[in-house]
């Protein structure tokens, strides 16, 4: 009834090709954005920021990044954790080397460094595909973690090998360090999510995105119709790594504050992000958000319900949580292999016809 195209006339090409062609979609997007920007910062507390919203936003960026590479360009990568580590360590080096520059630019800088590293590790993708490429990126994962553990320059020769985020500000407001207010950390991440989300959405709708999808669907055919596989694949690696690097930088600087590379950026994180995009939906920006929400929020929710609500023993709750999340993943993959994004798409299709489906 409300969700429909009928009566929504487009009078210009720009209107016709906008991100959300349906009016209801558009308004809903603005509403969500307005709530996220204008309401949440006023009600947020430390727990909500550091246990729920900040990790969700950061993982969303990482998931969008991997989705560009895997979902849109079809290159499977297991190096996400390693690339996040590159982002974290480069933002750390930048923060400590140039303390007077705004942290905002450091995060962007960390993304660019990661893009360069991603480009380098993307080179094998020109020759190998599929599972073999996954193994090559797995090598990147282990190599990068080893590197940051091995070379003391990366952690400024600290005794423990940890990196700690010093206090840095944006417009005089602290966004890293222990005295950060919850809303500041949240808004800082939100700005990156919105900017990068819009960027990804528009990239994937444009020439570049179409080239990526052509390569994903059949690389030989794409080459024949004039898509340069070198440029398409490497640009996917670079842009995806940029996103992942920004996520890694925020993960370290804003969310955790202190990081140990082996634990924070281990192979688990690579799998976590991969699960996010598989659950959320490959080749969908919304899917990246949905997947991140599923993988990050579900465990917190289950834990709060089981331990806080039902008063269960913590070990029992932790084990049950594994079982439930695992079962949900299996159930999803069987019932909806295209992920949460597909469910959303179907719901919208139905809504368009509702309440008169014939």
């Amino acid at each position: 009834m409300l969700y429909r195209e009928a009566g929504d006339f487009k009078t210009s090409y720009a209107d016709d090709s906008q991100t959300f062609p349906i009016r209801f979609d558009r308004y809903r997007f603005y509403a969500v954005l307005a709530v996220a920007v204008a309401v949440v910062p006023f009600v947020i507390n430390d727990y909500w920021a550091s246990a729920v919203l900040v990790p969700f936003l950061i993982w969303s960026i990482a998931a969008i990044g991997l989705n560009i590479l895997t979902g849109y360009c079809g290159q499977v990568s297991l190096g996400t954790g390693g690339f996040m580590a590159v982002g974290a360590y480069s933002v750390y080096k930048l923060m400590t080397a140039f303390p007077d520059v705004s942290i905002f630019f450091h995060v962007i800088g960390a993304g660019l460094v990661t893009a360069a590293v991603g480009l380098l590790f993307g080179l094998p993708s020109l020759r190998i595909k599929g599972f073999y490429l996954a193994v090559a990126t797995l090598a990147a994962q282990f190599f990068l973690v080893w590197l940051f553990n091995k070379v003391p320059w990366f952690y400024n020769y600290s005794a423990s090998g940890q990196i700690n985020a010093p206090e840095r500000t944006v417009f005089g407001i602290e966004v890293t360090g222990p005295n950060t207010e919850a809303w500041a950390a949240y808004l800082f991440c939100l700005v990156f999510v919105v900017l990068l989300g819009l960027l990804a959405r528009n990239l994937t709708r444009g020439t570049l995105g179409r080239k990526w999808m052509a390569i994903r669907d059949m690389d030989i055919a794409a080459e024949i119709i004039g898509v340069n596989p070198l440029r398409a694949k490497l640009s996917a690696f670079a842009i995806s790594s940029f996103f992942i690097g920004v996520a890694g930088a925020l993960f370290f600087a804003v969310y955790l504050g202190a990081v140990e590379v082996g634990e924070a950026f281990g192979i688990n994180q690579s799998f976590l992000v991969l699960f996010m995009i598989i659950i959320g939906g490959l080749g969908s920006i919304f899917g990246s958000f949905a997947g991140a929400a599923f993988m990050v929020l579900m465990p917190v929710l289950l834990k709060n319900v089981m331990v806080g609500g039902l008063g269960w023993d913590t070990a029992l709750a932790a084990h049950t949580e594994f079982v439930i999340v695992g079962a949900l993943i299996v159930a999803f993959l069987i019932m909806e292999p295209h992920g949460l994004a597909q469910l959303w798409r179907l719901a919208k299709e139905k809504l368009r016809l509702w309440p008169f489906p014939y």
């Binding site: 991100t19 979609d25 809903r28 997007f29 969500v32 954005l33 709530v35 996220a36 430390d46 727990y47 550091s50 246990a51 729920v52 990790p55 969700f56 553990n149 005794a159 423990s160 090998g161 940890q162 700690n164 010093p166 206090e167 222990p178 005295n179 919105v194 989300g197 819009l198 959405r201 969310y255 955790l256 504050g257 202190a258 990081v259 140990e260 082996g262 634990e263 924070a264 281990g266 919304f286 958000f289 949905a290 929400a293 929020l297 579900m298 917190v300 929710l301 834990k303 709060n304 319900v305 331990v307 806080g308 609500g309 913590t314 070990a315 709750a317 932790a318 594994f322 949460l340 959303w344």
Partner: protein, 431 residues
């Protein structure tokens, strides 16, 4: 950018949060435990000991100074992310002191807890330089720290070698994380001082696979191996050492690598393995009679109840006892029953453990004597060496309290804490 589903999930999470409404006017002790994951073998006994001691206080004395104790357990899985979530979830409930039993989480909590004004007690782990109370107002690591441990191990080796380690080779097998890297600096200094050769053998998390490390040890043939291991890594290392027939009496673990679960899987081959001891092993203490009468017999024991009298369980008891004693101290100082975290901190800083006090608590000779002061948050830095007797399946303490080499450690602590102070703009207290 369609976030509607997310919002729905958030609303659900909110409902979950609401259900956990806090109850006030109690002494809240959060226990960031880990009963799952590759470190659970060590996390469970500690968590059980900690919980049982708190239950004992409630059952026997009605809490601490008449104020009931509420234990707030939160599962971290030894994972820093979950540790942060647990910290944020529990801190608003009036948490008095955090004991996360993880060096990684401790590093995470030091700046946060300092900003929030909640004390952290990392008993024999965490950031070593936190022993300097002038810089680390809210962090305590009494009775001993990692650098003390490294020094105690070397001192024991000196004793074994009649005071001369010149030309000997010592290998450090360590968990490749902040925890395992802590002793390196001290061992390097000590190797300069005593003339032994140090080689470093890192083991990556979680440490189930150590074939290449022990191959390296077999090739290098060090005279002694010192280990900084935790969780499943300990069991594997002891087994691998046995496999290459490394003489067990030349293999010394830190106090986190010396519990029953670490040596039992290797069976008789583990006989003679040594480890440092923070608190005495065994169950020969009056406290166990009290626990039996007030906790075990009422089936109020935490966990499965199969950890009693183990090293890890004793250490949990010890940590809880120190927290409870500090709370008593705080109640005395501020002549109040209900405590705030800031008052708790004052109590911790005024804590003095004497032989008589431990005997009163039914834990005679359980840990070292020490006194916390404004400058010294690290205690006395004493440790013992225990040896595993595979036949009797128990740890035997083979030395008296060994004092660490403060001459080497104190400058290192001053240097590291000064670096932290400069990094975080902290001016020294206690002057």
């Amino acid at each position: 950018m369609k976030l509607t589903k997310t919002r729905m999930a958030l609303a659900g999470a909110l409902a979950g949060m609401m259900a956990a409404a806090p109850a006030m006017a109690e002494l809240v002790f959060p226990s960031l435990s880990y009963r799952t994951g590759p470190y659970a073998a060590n996390g469970i006994p500690f968590a059980d000991g900690y919980a049982d001691y708190m239950t004992l206080l409630n059952e026997r004395d009605g809490g601490i100074g008449g104020e009931p104790v509420r234990l707030l357990e939160c599962e971290t899985g030894y994972n820093t992310q979950k540790g942060v979530e647990c910290y944020e979830a529990t801190k608003d409930e009036g948490a008095l002191v955090y004991q996360p039993l993880s060096t990684g989480i401790t590093y995470q909590l030091i700046p946060k807890a300092t900003a929030d004004g909640i004390p952290v007690h990392s008993m024999g782990y965490g950031r070593t330089s936190a022993a300097n109370g002038k810089v680390f107002e809210w962090v305590f690591n009494y009775p001993a720290n990692y650098w003390d441990g490294a020094s105690i191990a070397v001192k024991h080796l000196l004793d074994v070698n009649e005071g001369d380690l010149n030309g000997k080779k010592i290998a450090l097998v360590y968990h490749n994380s902040a925890y395992g890297k802590e002793p390196i600096r001290t061992l390097e200094e000590l190797s300069k001082k005593h003339g032994f050769e140090l080689s470093l053998v890192p083991v990556d998390h979680p440490g189930q696979e150590q074939k290449s490390q022990w191959l390296q040890i077999r090739r290098e043939r060090p005279d002694y191996v010192v280990m900084w291991g935790w969780g499943v890594m300990n069991q594997v290392a002891v087994q691998e050492a046995a496999n290459i027939r490394f003489p067990m009496e030349n293999f010394i673990g830190v106090w986190w690598s010396g519990s029953e679960t670490d040596v039992l899987p290797a069976g008789d081959a583990a006989n003679g393995y040594k480890a440092l001891a923070l608190a005495n092993p065994g169950g020969d203490y009056a406290i166990y009679d009290e626990l039996e009468a007030n906790v075990y017999s009422k089936s109020k024991a935490a966990g499965a109840g199969d950890q009693w009298k183990t090293v890890g369980y004793n250490r949990g008891l010890y940590a809880a006892m120190l927290a409870a004693e500090a709370a008593k101290e705080a109640q005395k100082i501020h002549s109040t029953k209900a405590l705030t975290p800031a008052q708790m901190r004052d109590g911790m800083e005024a804590l003095e453990m004497t032989e008589a006090r431990m005997a009163d608590l039914g834990m005679a000779n359980f840990g070292p004597e020490f006194k916390v002061t404004c400058e010294n948050h690290g205690g006395s830095g004493l440790g013992k060496v225990a040896q595993w007797d595979a036949g009797a399946k128990q740890w035997t303490v083979i030395t008296d309290w060994i004092e660490s080499d403060k001459e080497v450690i104190q400058p290192l602590i001053d240097e590291d804490s000064a670096a932290y102070a400069a990094e975080s703009n902290i001016s020294e207290r206690c002057n």
